[in-house]
Subunit: 268 residues, 2 copies
């Protein structure tokens, strides 16, 4: 993808959008931001609404004003579906009962994107990503694989909430980025699409893979968190209809992530 | 239903809830308020979010604080489903793509009620009502049947947006109230239920009924509004599983409404 430029501004400041859109011709907005994570969002729902939902509406209003017609929105495959009724993989059309404000706001933004398309012809591409992991991850609060790898590298104790049976769908970051680029280049618009590996791994599976690929480390099991659903794996049939996908194995993804982390630490 | 008390306060003032909940033991909250209607909500979405969604979260937080465990929420059968893919009656589990911020906020409040039930054991009853009409209606901006009847009584011209083919599900207000009371007395909790007649009438059907039952009047057809979906009728099978319903015919409902309006005008 060519001509990708990054403009800097504060998500909380409408004036910043105004300046950026006024000075530049912007074809596509990538909305990847969130001010909260699932576990924090339930503690201050009003903040979640104001900082994520209202700021997004301000952004959409500015896009309409400056006739910017395309937005890619990273929604959340891990939280919008909520508690599973059964162990089947989640399709885009399945029922949605989030157990975090984070998931509700993602879903609500999806609905507003549909509305802005209906009212103003704004084209959206809603991507319900599963759990990305890999290089450039920069967060010690979120992202199981990256957090474990950093702790392993620092010889810290790895804390697991619950008994490790919680199952998630992980996707290697470079696969996720390539899929997004491919969808944009194919001009897929006004669709809601799950992006994940379509495969479920429990935390214990992930621990075993890391132990096999990298080595042993210290583990501590803590109480489970109410915000964690027991099982979520995405059905990616819709994605596979739009583009060919060729995913990195979780073992390779973990090894590459670890090698890159090691290099960046040595480089410091 | 006994012991129903009305407490007065401002929906925008958290202090008001605080005073009311602090002074009184409240078992059930009836959330029937909206600061917007569908057509107005799209013009100021930020206001819709702040005044309806954030105020509702403030109310729910106060309910949790004072251990009030039950809320009845009047959602919107007419707007949460959005554009129909086909002419079938809408089931509660059908897909939801509102074309108004009003509908999105109703849906989002539904999701937060589910979340508050999950987090705090707050019991909800979400009622997706169709279009109520009848006595005590006090609004000249909304409510086709009542607005027409008032204009007929005042010998004003009745304006219709579009060609009159728009189909809606109408429910006589006394039927709606009885259904709500019956559901509460049966202690139906944590359910989302459509409440309507399950029958569709076009605006032209309604006009013909009023002409037959009451008499002729002047009509003017205007441009259609973007906020009006062409068809929405509710599937009420779920409601019928919970309680026996016995609906007033639309002709009788319209006659009673007209007689009551006439009386109130003569009484003035």
């Amino acid at each position: 993808m060519k001509n990708v430029k990054i403009y800097y501004g504060d998500f909380h400041k409408e004036e910043d959008y105004e300046i950026i859109f006024n000075k530049n011709r912007i074809d596509i907005v990538f909305h990847l931001i969130s001010t909260t994570i699932p576990s924090s969002s339930n503690k201050n729902i009003i903040f979640d609404i104001k900082s994520n939902l209202i700021n997004t509406i301000n952004l959409l209003n500015i896009m309409v004003k400056y006739n910017c017609k395309n937005i890619i929105f990273l929604s959340s495959g891990g939280t919008v579906y909520g508690h599973p009724d059964n162990m089947s993989k989640k399709k885009e059309s399945d029922s949605k009962n989030p157990i975090s404000s984070y998931g509700i706001i993602k879903l609500t933004i999806e609905k507003y994107l549909y509305l802005f398309n209906y009212l103003y012809g704004l084209n959206y591409l809603i991507l319900r990503a599963s759990n990305p992991f890999g290089e450039y991850h920069n967060n010690l609060k979120q992202g199981l694989i990256d957090v474990i790898l950093k702790k392993v590298l620092n010889r810290e104790i790895v804390e697991i909430w619950g008994d490790g049976t919680v199952v998630r769908d992980y996707i290697y970051i470079k696969d996720l980025v390539k899929i997004i680029v491919d969808l944009i280049e194919k001009e897929i618009q006004n669709e809601i699409i799950n992006i994940g590996s379509g495969r479920g791994y429990s935390i214990n599976n992930i621990i075993k893979i890391i132990q096999n690929e990298i080595g042993n480390f210290h583990l501590e099991y803590k109480d489970a968190r109410q915000v964690d659903i027991p099982y979520i794996v995405l059905n990616i049939n819709k994605l596979e209809k739009f583009i060919d996908i060729n995913l990195t194995s979780i073992e390779d993804g973990i090894k590459r992530t670890y090698d890159s982390l090691k290099k960046s630490l040595i480089g410091d």
